[in-house]
Amino acid sequence: MLQIYKRFWAVNWAAQWQYRANLLMYLAYWVVSPIVFLAVWSSIARAQGDVAGLNAGDFTAYYLTLLPVDIVTASITIHILASKIQDGTVSNALLQPVHPVLTNVLVDNVAFKALQLVLFVPIWIALVLLFQPPLTYTLGSLLLSVPVLALGFLANFLLSGIITALAFWTTRVFAINEAYFILANLLGGSFVPLAILPGPLQGLARLLPMQLWLYFPTQVALNRLSAGEIALNTALLMGWLIVLFMVFRAVWNAGLKRFSAVGA
């Protein structure tokens, strides 16, 4: 099994490497939105002194940490797989005796983000020099964020797998994904650190899984959470992982059944 992953890595890394110029363009999209929110919130905080206890520097550090977190935990499954499901070419993968999502697509995701990180590092250094954020990382917080990021990515990967599998039923899967993306932006911490969301919305956001791969790892890396908060969120993340895995399996298998009924 390990061999399979190693070979998939070799193939996907080589393929992604060919598209590095496009990747750079893709990164531009990735970077702009957090920078815009960074600018908006820190200019408000600068004018008022603070927003909900966060000063301009806190906002800058938050968004500049969120950027690499987002890259590490993001999933491009829908872009890899949805069109293949729709045009039927997914059947190539279905002829093989391994689970396409849990092998090839997973590894392709990892290869994509590995390459993206390589290209992103110089951009990130430039942004840090431009914005001069007070980065409150410690060795411990960075080490702790590694497993948190890994689990967060897996959870997001499974959720995106569920959304992608909807392509077996509907051609509108990208619209569904967009609706989800809007929700994730608002409630995951991309728009604003959760503490600033109004009460009921904040409560909901804390329970939903999206913050677990955006807000939570960012706060862990910045060393802003207490041990209790870390334990609670980790437990929540584990719980969501199990739920998402079961739902993914059920949806994928049902999708395959449907695919073999209608064909493509």
């Binding site: 363009m25 531009a28 702009v32 939105s33």
Partner: protein, 262 residues
């Protein structure tokens, strides 16, 4: 000119037909657009839940700005993007040749071959936002402010359109350069907020290099009475000049293309 209008209306008709055939897609697109509107309004609500103003811009001003931004973004989504894809494919596969054998202005033709007609809904939403924003802020708007706002909004959009024409024309010289329009789209998001919130280097970028602020912040400034007549005329002139310059670049590029492919 009459012929170009006829060609445009024929394209609108064909594209509308397509939007109607994919009915659920069209409804889903409109629903998604409304969801983004909800997101934008929610983010403004959250912002003004914790702040009275953003660099002196009140909630009403920000809503007007959102309306102007959505107008510009509609231009990008309904015309610029679909036609960029078509253009790039044309260059790759050589089908662009057909554009140059037709008896219509080639720049006009490549700009309107694919139009997402349903996006017209977005124009109404954007107009409603602008009116709602003006009502929210409660400051009366003089006729001069209203006129300069409208004129600068149009000339700003023309400037972005011109930039697009220049960007795709560059493909005639540098074929590898075919995803440069992505850069424009990536930066469009900065137009949601007043340019003054950005640090100086970014403000310079979105004003002079990729002049999104000229198409979004500037018209709203005119509406708020913050622009001197000289500034207003200057920005308008920039839009007109950009438009003219772009068509020169397009003509030079297309001459080069037909020279190279024959």
């Amino acid at each position: 000119m009459r012929r170009i209008l006829r060609v445009i209306s024929a394209h609108v008709r064909v594209n509308l037909q397509q939007d109607l055939a994919y009915r659920v897609d069209t409804l889903v697109n409109i629903a998604t657009m409304m969801a983004w509107l909800g997101y934008d309004l929610a983010s403004i609500a959250v912002l003004f839940g914790s702040a009275q103003n953003i660099n002196g811009w009140l909630a009403g001003d920000i809503i007007v700005l959102l309306g102007v931004f959505r107008m510009l973004n509609t231009l990008m989504m309904s015309i610029v993007w679909p036609n960029t894809e078509l253009f790039n494919r044309g260059i790759r596969e050589g089908t662009l040749d057909y554009v140059f054998v037709m008896p219509v202005n080639s720049q006009a033709l490549i700009s309107i071959r694919r139009i997402q007609v349903w996006q017209v809904v977005n124009v109404f939403v954007a107009a409603a936002l602008i009116l709602a924003g003006i009502a929210t802020s409660g400051t009366p708007v003089s006729l001069g402010e209203a006129v300069s706002f409208l004129v600068l909004m149009v000339s700003g959009a023309a400037l972005i359109y011109a930039l697009w024409i220049v960007l795709i024309s560059l493909t005639f010289w540098f074929t590898k350069f075919d995803n440069n329009v992505s850069l424009l789209q990536a930066l469009i998001d900065t137009g949601r907020w007043p340019a003054s919130v950005y640090p100086m280097w970014m403000r310079l970028l979105v004003t002079f290099v990729v002049p999104i602020a000229v198409a979004t912040t500037v018209p709203v400034q005119a509406l708020r009475g913050e622009l001197s007549p000289l500034e207003a005329v200057g920005y308008f002139a920039v839009g007109v000049a950009g438009f003219g310059l772009a068509s020169l670049v397009w003509r030079a590029g297309s001459r080069r293309y037909s020279g190279a492919s024959s």
